[in-house]
């Protein structure tokens, strides 16, 4: 396979560019205050506080097991389905604490969509994969409306042109990269405000990865995007802000350009320069 299409820019170049594009501060979408998380007795996150701005891409980086995925999953209460887990602290979306008693978790998860590390399309047709979320959320409406929403979701995920003539075929017949874009389309269909992406490209080849990254860049005008990645170049390429995690703690959180060119923590510098990780 030819990889000549993707000349990976140096970190400094990218940082320079994103600094020029001016990650202007936008209103806070997600505000996390002193969040700790426990799997049984084991503490996975220790007092993490950060604010995620709306309509920007925020990347979480750090070595394996540093808590970045766990943290991501606290933002739509996905960890609730794991038994014997416990959350302390506050996560507010648009000012409302999502762990407050009486929170409608189902509605929360509709507002905060998620794309997983391993693409997980339902073993149904391409069309039904998109339509499922619309149906369970009572957003299906008339047939023609459903058709329109399926089409617009697939277009938003840059998949429509590749699948428009085979919507009734099984989603499992798609390539890995297409499956992951289908999962993105599925998440977008229910019109979330925030999109969480847990290493969405880690299982994909470079070309498929590039398409996902382009997509992330396009989507941020409409959505607040949080992406976990173990790939520092990816964080540098797609994100406006970057948070560095280490052993369950937030080490540093700043503009991506700052993190990659002039980090204030020694640990960050060691990590982004590949001295450990």
């Amino acid at each position: 396979m030819s990889s000549s299409t993707t000349a990976i820019p140096s970190l400094a170049d990218v940082a320079q560019q994103s600094a020029e594009s001016g990650a202007a501060d936008t209103p806070t979408k997600v505000d996390v205050d002193a969040l700790s998380f426990f799997y049984g007795e084991k503490q996975a996150l220790e007092g993490v506080s950060l604010s995620i701005p709306a309509n920007q891409v925020t990347a979480f980086i750090g070595p394996s097991g540093c808590g970045k995925s766990t943290f991501l999953r606290t933002l739509n209460r996905m960890n609730d389905i794991i038994p014997r887990t416990r959350v302390v602290g506050k996560v507010a979306i648009d000012g409302d604490d999502i762990y407050a008693p009486g929170t409608d978790v189902v509605e929360l998860r509709r507002r905060v969509g998620m794309v997983f590390q391993k693409s997980n399309p339902f073993p149904k047709s391409i069309y039904e994969n998109i339509a499922y979320g619309l149906r369970i959320n009572g957003m299906a409406g008339a047939r023609s409306e459903l058709d329109d929403r399926v089409e617009s979701s697939l277009q938003a995920a840059a998949l429509w042109d590749e699948v428009s003539d085979r919507l009734r075929e099984s989603a499992l017949a798609l390539s890995g990269g297409q499956q992951q874009r289908l999962c993105i389309a599925r998440a977008l269909a229910v019109q979330p405000e925030v999109l969480l992406m847990d290493e969405p490209a880690s299982a994909l080849d470079p070309i498929a990865t590039q398409r996902i990254e382009e997509l992330v860049y396009q989507l941020k005008s409409k959505y607040t995007i949080v992406i976990v990645t173990h790939n520092m170049q990816q964080a540098a390429r797609v994100s406006d802000r970057t948070a560095v995690f280490w052993l369950g703690k937030l080490v540093e959180y700043d503009k991506t350009s700052q993190i990659f060119t002039a980090p204030s923590e020694k640990l960050t510098e060691d990590y982004v320069t590949g001295r450990f990780g």
Binding site: I81, R109, R110, K118, N120, P123, N137
Partner: protein, 296 residues
């Protein structure tokens, strides 16, 4: 020297193991050959057409008639009743255990269910005859002492653990990622279970169901004890009937002289039984393979 000796022992062990494996294959093949030969002998005297489509089964009477349909009908009736119990109850149990029960409950309930599968079938047979039938007779006046209903219900209880255990395996085998995907879209637990997990496990669940049907068709003791010995082509579960398996028992135990045509009927019936359960097992295996491929 020592190494030569070691090699010889290794070869000996290998040969011994080969012989063990070969023996079981040979015995199975031998049974099949006997079954086939006797069946062919039978069909020399009775046309397969008469056997398969005749509606009267009286090979032990003076007026001999060799239509196997009453036995097939009796078998299907009892199996149908059994599956009406074991199918829904087994599936619901599986859904509860896999999706709703805390892992603590599952760890206790699943082995208990599997122990139920180890109860000797003769116990179930007497349970049907001496407990369930009298109970049903109080509810349904005119229920015969031997009938299809009571052994059918008890057989349903007998195969329920098999259905629930295999279905639970299928549900449990659905990747967690699919459940998470549904939850992440704002699905409730029930929406996730009914519209994502169940369809995804369908081939595995069907495999479990078909295997259970195969088990029901081949089940012998319960129906021999509690269903009666009257070959009768009927859909009425309240009267005595006879299944293929019970007929084979009846002839094997009775005073039918060996080598006679009446005696050979049990090989023909046995062949039919073998072919049908064999085909069902094949379909079940095929479905299970497909399930495995989907989530490899």
């Amino acid at each position: 020297m020592a190494s030569e000796r070691r090699d010889r022992i290794e070869r000996l062990i290998e040969r011994g193991l080969q012989a063990c494996a070969g023996l079981s294959v040979l015995v199975t093949a031998g049974i099949l050959v006997v079954l086939l030969v006797e069946t062919l002998q039978f069909f020399r005297e009775v046309s397969p057409f008469e056997f398969l489509f005749g509606t009267v089964w009286t090979p032990l009477f003076l007026q001999k008639s060799f239509g196997v349909l009453p036995l097939v009908g009796g078998t299907l009736l009892v199996s149908f009743i059994a599956m009406s119990v074991a199918g829904p109850a087994g599936l619901l149990t599986a859904i509860y255990l896999s999706e709703y029960a805390p892992s603590r409950v599952r760890r206790v309930v699943k082995p208990v269910l599997e122990v139920l599968a180890g109860v000797p079938t003769v116990v179930y047979g007497y349970f049907a005859l001496l407990f369930v039938t009298p109970l049903l007779q109080q509810l349904i006046p005119g229920l015969s002492g031997f009938n299809a209903l009571s052994p059918g219900l008890v057989m349903g209880i007998m195969i329920l653990p098999m259905v629930s255990s295999l279905s639970e395996d299928a549900l449990h085998g659905v990747p967690r990622g699919l459940r998470e995907a549904a939850y992440a879209l704002g699905a409730t637990k029930m929406q996730t279970t009914v519209r994502v997990v169940l369809p995804a496990a369908l081939s595995g669940i069907s495999a479990a169901g078909i295997l259970a049907v195969s088990r029901a068709i081949g089940e012998t003791m319960i129906v021999t004890i509690a269903a009666g010995q009257q070959p009768r082509l009927t859909a009425n579960p309240l009267v005595p009937i006879e299944t293929m398996t019970a007929y084979i028992v009846q002839v094997s135990l009775g005073d039918t002289p060996t080598g006679t045509l009446a005696y050979r009927t049990i090989f023909a019936v046995g062949m039919l039984l073998f072919v049908s359960t064999f085909l069902l097992n094949l379909v079940s295996n095929w479905l299970r393979e497909r399930f495995r491929e989907e989530y490899a």
